[in-house]
Every structure is written in C-alpha cells, then in structure tokens.
C-alpha cells in the first residue's frame, strides 16, 4: 500500500515538474493522413527538420486513412489535454468544426501580408464566418491524367479540351480495340466520388445549393450525373470504378489499363516513377476539361489545412509547427506530391523543374477551383448524395428519381 502511495505521489510530482517546464519540453500529438498529397516520408522528414530547429519540442505523428480523419478529430475533442495538438483537416469541415468549437481561431496569429500571397482557394480551406481556423497546407485539385502512348495508338494528337471530346476520344480508343475501358474513376460510395461529381458539376456550371435550397436536381449537377452514367452505359468507364478509391485509380492507370483518369496532384509524380508505374514517361497532365459554351476547364477544391484543436494545451508550440510546415521554403522543397499554397512558388525553378506540365495545369485549375457546399451539415449532405448517385451508377434508379430523393433527404436533415 505504501509503495503504491509513493508511486502515485512520485508520478504527481513528475507531472507537476513536466507542466512547469512545458514551454521547453513538449511533445505535440499531430494527426495526418496516409493517402494522396504528401507522403508519410515527406511529413516525417519535414518534422525532423522542425525538431532540429526547435530543441525541446518533439512531434509524435499519427497517420490514418482519409476516411478516418474526421471521426478521429471529433472523438479526440473530448479527450481533454490528451487529444491532438495539430490536426490535418479537409476543406469541407471548417464550417462544422467552427460552429462546434473544435478548432482554435488563429486569425490573429496569421501575418496580414499572407492574405495576398496565398491563393484564395487555399484560404477557403480554413475560413468560416470571416475567421481563420488554421493555415492551408495542401492546395489540391483533381487533374486529368492521360496516357500518351494509348492516345497515339488511337491516332489522337491532342488531349481533350471538353468532356464531350473526352468521351469522343474514349470511343475511338475503344473502337480501335486499344483498351476495353478507356476511363477510370474513383466512384465508390465515398467522398472520392463526390469530388469527381463536383468537378463535372463545375464544368457544367451547376450548383449544389441556391438560397439554402437543394439546386442539384436540375442544370449542371444533373448533367454531371447523366454524363457519369452515360460513360458506364457506353462501356467507356471501367465498371469496377464503382468500387474504386483514388489509390485504385492510380494502380489501374499506372498499369496502362486506362487512357484517362481524374486524380489528385500526387499521381503525377507516382505515375511517372518507374518503380511505381508501368507507364512512367508516358503520362501527361492537364486541367480537367470544360463544357462547350459553359467552361474551359473544371476543378474541385480539394485542399486541406492544419489547425489546432481547442483542447490542445500547447497552442504556441503547435502554431510554431504549423507555421514551419506551411512556410514557402518547406513547401517548395516538397512540391512533387502536393503543390504549395504560395502564389510565388509557381514561378520558382525548383518547383517547376521536371513537372512543367503539372505547374501549367495547376495555374489554370487553381483559378477555377469549385467548392463543395460550405455548410455545417456537409458530411450528411455528402452521404446523401453519395448513396443516391451510387444507385444511379449501379443502375438501380434513374437520374431524376435519385436526385429528387436526395433533395428530399437533405431537407430532412436536423
């Protein structure tokens, strides 16, 4: 009994001692994802540089799949001081996180001149109600990747400028017997599908909501779903797309089994890496196409930011870490899998080198980035759209019927 008492006392003293020297010796718990954008190795290497520059501050890294990121952040909000100090979060969550008080308002910590130096699309990631809840870090969108060898074989000289042309080229490739399914997408019942859907909606000048009411039943959003379904019906899209995530798209495309694919920045470097891809050197990237008379290119805002959960006891150290990761120099040095948030980076030789076509595409795509609905109930809206669009793609219901059902359910949200 006495021994136990001593032990408790001892650890209490130790805890006191640790908290009094918190500024000097801190371990930050940071949550990242292991999927697309910066690789685990990139993040570990940036973190090592931060630790070297800030003696006494250690960072404990945790990587989870994107699908688990939201729930981890929410579950840790109730963990008191044992939660996370830095979290990576998606552009679709700040509305929800801000209204629930999960993230610290860091508006005052951000230097005023940053506003103009960073792309607006990146700022969208961290802003809600005129306040900033972190720093943007990953400026990402879905690009159109194409296999030049397959296009050559089918006698196609230039990549498509519109989605109509893309379908036409896919038909040619199929007709000449080069590939059975020229297109591959991430159309599993997931957020990945909503990103493709958003890109197509943007191309068709569609809208999700108008004056708070669902507007996806007609116009561009409806055209987007019809297009998706038509490519399946025509046999242009690989039917297995309906259970694919981004990594499956990368694998199929890197195996030379698709002519066109929509994917995030990270696929550019990996599909051109001979160790990861059978089509290295034959991969080109362009902005996702537009639609005749409506748009010249299309793009979904798939950016992500870094924030400090409101229960973190180490806000200052956490901010130092975020400021380090998001600074221009660091981003410029790791610009292969994810592109910088800084406008000036896009004319830096070391960023452009070896990926000139990506940078050219990025300049165009970033300027037309289209946001997914910025509402606090986004997660639920997205789930509803996922289910109903998936039913269309699986031939279980018609386009109008599904979008009507989705709208009715969106109105039922509490």
């Amino acid at each position: 009994m006495k021994a136990i008492n001593k032990l408790i006392l001892g650890s209490a003293i130790a805890t006191l001692a640790m908290s009094s020297t918190a500024l000097a010796d801190t371990t930050l718990n940071a949550l990242f994802m292991s999927q697309a954008a910066y690789s685990e190795d990139d993040i570990k290497s940036m973190t090592a540089q931060f630790e070297a520059a800030n003696p006494g501050v250690k960072v404990s890294l945790e990587f989870v799949p994107y699908e688990a990121l939201h729930d981890k952040i929410v579950a840790a909000a109730g963990a008191g001081e044992d939660g996370y100090d830095v979290v990576l979060y998606d552009v679709i969550w700040p509305a929800e996180f801000a209204t629930r008080g999960f993230l610290m308002d860091v508006t005052d910590r951000i230097p005023a001149d940053y506003t103009d130096k960073i792309f607006d699309g990146a700022w969208t990631t961290v802003e809600y109600g005129g306040k900033r809840y972190g720093m943007p870090w990953i400026l990402d969108t879905k690009y159109l990747f194409y296999n030049t060898e397959i296009l050559d074989k089918a006698g196609i000289s230039a990549p498509p400028k519109t989605w109509g042309e893309l379908a036409e080229q896919a038909r040619q490739i199929k007709a000449k017997g080069v590939l059975e399914y020229p297109l591959v997408w991430s159309w599993s019942q997931s957020e990945a599908m909503i990103c493709d859907f958003t890109t197509l909606t943007a191309a068709n000048n569609g809208a999700f909501f108008e004056e708070g009411q669902p507007a996806f039943r007609q116009g561009g959003a409806r055209d987007a779903v019809s297009f998706m379904k038509a490519t399946l019906d025509e046999g242009l899209t690989n039917p297995a797309s309906r259970e694919y995530f981004e990594e499956d798209v990368r694998r199929v495309f890197s195996n030379g089994e698709a002519a066109f694919a929509l994917n995030w920045t990270y696929m550019n470097a990996l599909a051109n890496d001979p160790a990861e891809s059978k089509v290295a050197g034959k991969v080109k990237v362009a902005p996702a196409p537009g639609v005749d008379g409506k748009s010249t290119a299309s793009s979904v805002n798939g950016s992500m930011g870094l924030g400090i959960p409101s229960n973190s006891p180490h806000a200052d150290e956490a901010w130092a870490y975020i400021a380090f990761l998001t600074q221009k120099d660091i981003q410029d040095n790791y610009a292969k899998l994810s592109l910088p948030i800084w406008k000036a980076s896009y004319s830096e030789p070391k960023v452009m080198e070896g990926q000139e076509d990506l940078i050219a595409a990025a300049k165009e795509s970033i300027s037309v980035m289209y946001p997914r609905p910025l509402v606090p109930s986004y997660t639920e809206v997205s789930d509803i759209l996922q289910k109903n669009i998936h039913e269309v793609l699986l031939d279980q219901t018609g386009v109008d019927e599904a979008l009507e059902a989705a709208a009715a359910r969106v109105k039922r949200i509490r």
Partner: protein, 297 residues
C-alpha cells in the same frame, strides 16, 4: 437472527461485483437512455440540454432507410448465425470422430476465429478484389465464370459476400462449443439406440442434438447478439456500400454520433438496436426452454 446475518453477509459479499457492474454497465446504460430523449450534440461549446421526449425515436422509426437497414441487419443475423450453427455442428460431429490427425485438425479449425475481425475483413476484401482477387482467379480457372467480376461492389452480391467472410471467421467458435458438448454424450446411449434399430440420422436428431442443445444455445445467443450489432467487418469491407446495400443498423448509431455529431439521436438508435437484440435473445431462451421441456417429456 442467524438468517438475517446470512442475508447481510450475502449483500456484503456481492457488493463489489454490484459496484463494478453499476460502474461499467448500469450507469452508461442509464446515461444512454437519458441521452436518447434529448437533443444533445457533440460540441466543444457548452449548450443547454433540452428534453425532447420521443422525437429522436420518431425521427428514427419514420425513416424508411433506417427500417430497410433493420431488415438488412436481421437478414445478416439470421443467415450468418444460421450458417454458423449448421456448419459449426457439422464440423464438430466430424472432429468428434477418431481418425488419424483429428487432434491436429481440432487445433487448426480454431485459426479463423483467432484472426482479428479487422484482419479478416481486409483479407476477404483482397480475396474479393475485382481485378486480382483470389476468388475471381479460382472461379475463372475452374471455368465457372467467363469474366472477372465485382463481388462486394455489386449490390446484388455484396451482403452475401460479407456474410461468407463472417461465417468463415465465426463458425469455429460454434464448432468448439459443440465439440466440447459432444464429448459428454454418453456412448452407451447411442449404442443402446443403435441396438434398438435407430439409424445415424435418427440417433443424431433424438439423442445427440438434444444433448448438446444447452451449450449450443448459449453460443448461438452470443453470436446473435454480436451479429445483430455487426459493424466492424462491414465498415472495413464495404463501408456500408455499394449504394447502402450493406449498411446495417449499427451504422446509424455510428453515423449519428461521429459523423453528424448528434449524440442524443445516436443514443436513440443505440437503444433501438439494443432493444431488438434483447427481443431476439428472449425469443431464443423461450424456444430453448420449450425444447428442453420437450426433450424431458
């Protein structure tokens, strides 16, 4: 005098167990029950809790998609536990025979059950993979299918494929309990019946099965509770898709809590799922009782 002291002693001895039970079961249960009648939300900004009566339950039960999920869960439970029962008993009867290597086989059969659910789910997802899955490869080489196909990406097959993965993992538990029970069946009873002219089937139905019914019922009840609240294997294998075709009732509890942050509403879904499991268990017990009285009569 003596009796009263005995009574006190009983309560004193039971107190630690009751305390632990209250702490880990009763209090959370009562709390969940209370939550289910409120509009509580998960938030770092404190807000007053409002009592809203049956509103959460009405919202849940008037949702046609949740009702579909309940039927789906019931389907999963009945088919999955049913197959595990049949397969488990059949394998147990085999393993109860004396043949060369029966001890090794007895040890091997437990392996699927020892695999963690998540690992099992990931492994089966790979087996079902539309492009390089082992199932496609096997069926293709046997000439049973002419083209690789999607197993868990097709709403028509997804649920049954998940059930197959669940049965593979869980039938060994049933088999083990049944095997243990089989070893207590008196051999002379079977011999006597054989002399009386009862064939193997007759002996199995009239002697063996009633004899092992008690332990078998226990493991079936356990499996039913687990199957009805199934979440992990489906979350990993299909995430509830394609087009919600594998989305079970527990998904709604998870979704309401962690995705939509409505803990009050989530609690009402949890109470509904727990309540239905309770009804299933009662049904089991009453049928087991009938069987037991039927066997002695």
């Amino acid at each position: 005098m003596f009796g009263r002291r005995r009574k006190q002693e009983k309560w004193i001895l039971l107190a630690p167990a009751i305390l632990v039970l209250a702490l880990i079961t009763l209090i959370p249960l009562a709390n969940t029950f209370w939550l289910s009648f409120t509009d509580t939300r998960i938030s770092a900004i404190p807000s007053p809790v409002r009592f809203i009566g049956l509103e959460n339950y009405i919202y849940a039960l008037t949702d046609p998609e949740f009702r579909e999920a309940l039927y789906r869960t019931l389907y999963f439970t009945i088919v999955s536990v049913g197959l595990e029962g049949i397969l488990g008993v059949a394998v147990a009867v085999l393993l109860n025979q004396k043949f060369r290597g029966h001890l090794i086989l007895r040890a091997l059969i437990i392996l699927p059950w020892a695999v963690p659910t998540i690992v099992n789910a990931v492994a089966w997802r790979l087996i079902y993979h539309p492009d390089y899955g082992a199932l496609n490869s096997l069926l293709f080489q046997l000439g049973l299918i002419s083209d690789y196909r999607s197993w868990i990406g097709d709403p028509a097959t997804a649920m049954n494929m998940v059930i197959l993965a669940d049965v593979w993992k869980n039938f060994p538990l049933v088999a083990y309990v049944a095997l243990a029970a089989l070893q207590t069946v008196p051999a002379d009873l079977n011999k006597a019946a054989a002399i009386e002219g009862a064939g193997p089937w007759k002996r199995f139905w009239s002697i063996t099965l009633p004899w092992i019914m008690g332990p078998l019922m226990v493991v079936m009840v356990l499996r039913t509770i687990e199957a009805f609240r199934v979440f992990d294997i489906i979350y990993v294998m299909t995430g509830g898709g394609p087009a919600d075709s594998t989305k079970t009732a527990s998904f709604y509890v998870y979704q309401e809590y962690f995705n939509y942050l409505r803990s009050g509403s989530g609690a009402s879904y949890a109470v509904l799922v727990a309540g239905i499991s309770a009804v299933l268990i009662l049904f089991y017990y009453s049928s087991a009782k009938r069987q037991a009285t039927g066997a002695t009569a």
